[in-house]
Symmetry: C2
Subunit: 351 residues, 2 copies
């Protein structure tokens, strides 16, 4: 953690003079989204509203039993980069797809959204990753991910020149699995920070945190400047159900902890401030896929552009509200439109 | 054309005792749907609200310039079969995909919708067809189709046992292009009619009609019992801008002509009756892709289940209204729910 100079709710967590707002590193994948019943989720033995890693055989079996779907480019961190670009920010993405049709779809959608994406297609190895997403009538999403080639990201895929240009780097916890991918994340964080940028980590999922608990603790206490987590992930990370204690632990570890709480909004915690952000109201909620990703897009865009903490958090709330109003993990309308919302100008509330 | 026994607006255009409601033969493809501006459509030199065939190079170029998309299984006749199944009807589909990821998506979606689909994946030749669909703010869709393997349907792909079981056969005009596919359609129509079923043809697009004008005239005057067309396609077929004359010509050619007129609803014309069907109101209209396909689903399901002409047409209007209320060419909710709408019980109006 580096010293944070805070001024009226504004967090100085961005690299000065860097040309790209945010660079993301994550699992590149295409989502296959199908609406389904709670009974189906239960019959398949799935943990609702969570992410389960599945192998190719299980992916084939589950795909065979699930209903008709639509395909949309996804991947947590990739969704966030698409959101940054949708806000009008500059973003680049580092993730691995194969030279198959879904890889082509993923690459097209990133570039068409305005995100720089230059990692070469893998010409051998597994197929492009896909996430089978079941959306229940309550708009919750249950994700089943076949990681394919995405988890085999190598340190050599992390282009130093790209990372060095970034004000902020976002790495997703989902990618923290295979050793080479871990090395890729460590490399990206080191390169970003050496160049004056800041490193953010999304904890992604409680199962991720539980699988790699000590490593995540070391990362957060080490190179991570900005942390994204929901309450359950934070509890898993600090092994406490006491929310106050978990927040205090995070404030000791990072410059900025962004803690999402669903309908209750979010908290932005720095070592010296605690800013409460309400959720933006939206009705009806159609599909919660991508809510956390777009929240991160709003916050990171705000930070990169020098907005105050409250403003950045409120952009996160607005972006999350947009994405849960429709099927799919990425914005359906330009998030830049949200910049004109008068509520954005609310002054920072410090608790 | 065979003799039609009509009773109080009910058209006896279905095969008695056949086990499957409708079998479809068409171009199997996956849609890539992106919202765009009128300026983009114009800049790309596209004919708005029409379908253009494109080769692989143009598909690559256009895909490179268009915005991020979502993928959804499509294909005109395949959409109709999905609609039949969504109504609770029995449907089978004959079309050709390759053994690639989009082929897998297409096959999965057909089967998951409840449509029998048993044509083997092609293991050589071009890729699975895709249709690049640009949806403008007025909800109109402009389609650009790379036919890939779909147009190479062979007569041997038409399983006689499947076609023989069908009350109704629907073939799409779009498929009328390569000789082997034409032979496949002729075979399917002959097999269906010999087994006591009836053959329907969708004219699909004015360009299709113009490209194969005399052949379409011969088909409609020959084995086709039921015709689906919009006003422009009907005008192209009979080479007249006089709508009355075109209708009279169709009534002389087929047992039932189903003529769609967009917001003005549709006309069901038999040699002895002319039934006017209003459009079902829907707001807002989001994406008109699949409107004609789902209209056909409603009409064919109604005919197969012995509903009167008005009822069948009204189901078509309701199904079309459902599909234009969201992005994507297939129903987002079970069309069987429409069967409970009281308006369906309206008595037939004979003009």
């Amino acid at each position: 953690m580096t010293e944070l100079s805070s001024d009226n709710g504004s967090a100085d967590v961005v690299g000065v003079g860097n040309a790209v707002d945010v660079v993301g590193v994550g699992n590149a994948m295409v989502d296959v989204i199908a609406t389904t019943s709670d009974d189906f989720v239960e019959a398949e033995g799935l943990v609702k509203n969570s992410m389960t890693l599945i192998d190719e055989a299980r992916a084939k079996q589950l795909y065979g039993t699930m209903g008709p779907g639509i395909e949309a480019s996804g991947g947590s961190c990739a969704n966030t980069m698409a959101g940054i670009a949708s806000f009008g920010g500059t973003a680049a993405y580092i993730g691995k797809v194969s030279d198959d049709q879904l890889g082509e779809v993923f690459a097209h959608d990133m570039r068409a959204t305005g995100v720089d994406f230059d990692v070469p297609f893998a010409t051998s190895g597994p197929a492009t990753a896909r996430c089978l997403i079941l959306v229940t009538p309550d708009a919750q999403r249950t994700m089943n991910t076949y990681l394919g080639i995405s988890s085999l990201l190598e340190p050599s895929d992390v282009q130093e020149a790209t990372v060095q240009r970034a004000k902020l780097l976002l790495c997703e916890g989902y990618l923290w699995d295979v050793d080479s991918a871990k090395q890729a994340i460590r490399k990206a964080m080191a390169v970003a920070r050496k160049a004056g940028g800041r490193a953010a980590l999304s904890l992604s999922d409680t199962f991720c945190v539980e699988r790699h608990h000590q490593e995540f603790r070391d990362l957060v206490a080490g190179p991570v400047d900005v942390l994204f987590a929901n309450r359950a992930e934070l509890a898993a990370l600090y092994e406490t159900d006491n929310f106050e204690k978990a927040i205090e632990a995070a404030r000791a570890d990072v410059d900025l902890a962004c803690i999402t709480m669903g309908k209750k909004g979010s908290l932005l915690a720095t070592p010296t401030e605690l800013v409460e952000i309400e959720a933006a109201e939206i009705a009806p909620v159609v599909d919660t896929t991508g809510a956390g990703d777009q929240y991160a897009a709003g916050v990171l865009f705000g930070l990169a552009r020098g907005f105050g903490l409250y403003e950045a958090g409120w952009l996160g709330s607005l972006a999350a509200a947009e994405v849960i109003s429709h099927v799919g993990p990425r914005p359906a309308r330009p998030l830049a439109e949200l910049l004109d919302q008068p509520d954005r100008q609310k002054s920072s509330k410090t608790l």
